[in-house]
Symmetry: C2
């Protein structure tokens, strides 16, 4: 009936993008990733970075984090886990808290939505920001 899915090619920019994302635990933004990748592929375009991150997130090989702050962040770790964000510097880190399965069940009972997922985001002051908190 409809045309076959267009093929997805393995391009250098995709490989390197994925490699660089895999190297860090910093949940980089698209721009941060752009800077990282540019050290190896100086001519890559920012649009390519956005397009491919979007594609990979849709495919499910990476995670797009819609956390607080004005920029989206990306994560190579796709196993479910939660995050904590520093309310001062905006840094996002993993937090090793057990996934709450119960909450999805009890939420399902309380809503007529068809629940697809959930995310828990803590916020607080990171150690770095605690030190100089009153300064500046």
């Amino acid at each position: 009936m409809n045309a076959p899915d267009p093929m997805i090619r393995i391009t250098t920019q995709r490989q390197i993008l994925l490699e660089e994302l895999g190297k860090t635990k910093n949940h980089p933004t698209a721009c941060e990733l752009y800077d990282m990748v540019r050290k190896r592929l100086p001519r890559i375009g920012l649009g390519t970075v956005y397009r491919n991150l979007e594609l990979m997130a849709d495919t499910g090989i990476i995670l797009k984090l819609e956390v607080g702050g004005s920029q989206k962040r990306f994560d190579a770790e796709i196993e479910p886990h939660y995050h904590i964000r520093c309310c001062r510097c905006g840094k996002v880190e993993n937090i090793e808290v057990d996934i709450i399965q119960d909450i999805v069940q009890s939420a399902a009972k309380k809503t007529s939505y068809d629940i697809i997922g959930h995310h828990v985001e803590f916020s607080g002051e990171c150690p770095d920001c605690q030190d100089g908190s009153s300064k500046i």
Copy 2:
């Protein structure tokens, strides 16, 4: 040592903004609120809306929701509660799930952050979007 805090004035635009936000349970965006308020204050500027929402959120009399999607949303209900967002239409609603206090304690043990708060956001398909899901 430093100058006293500048006074905060009760302006018409602030009063009406707060009233309009209080009237709805829809977690409006700044632009949606702008449209609502403009019916009563046609000459209000969008900048004023943004500035005051920011101010009120900082003061703690309203909540700024940093949920998924590209726009921030605002909430007059400041008692802790969780939200669910429709992954199709972007609508955000409250979800009546008990606040998980335990998770904050266990998170506190797992991190060196000074935890200030947390938020749980579910995502799923709202009833409206479930119907016509395959259409269009």
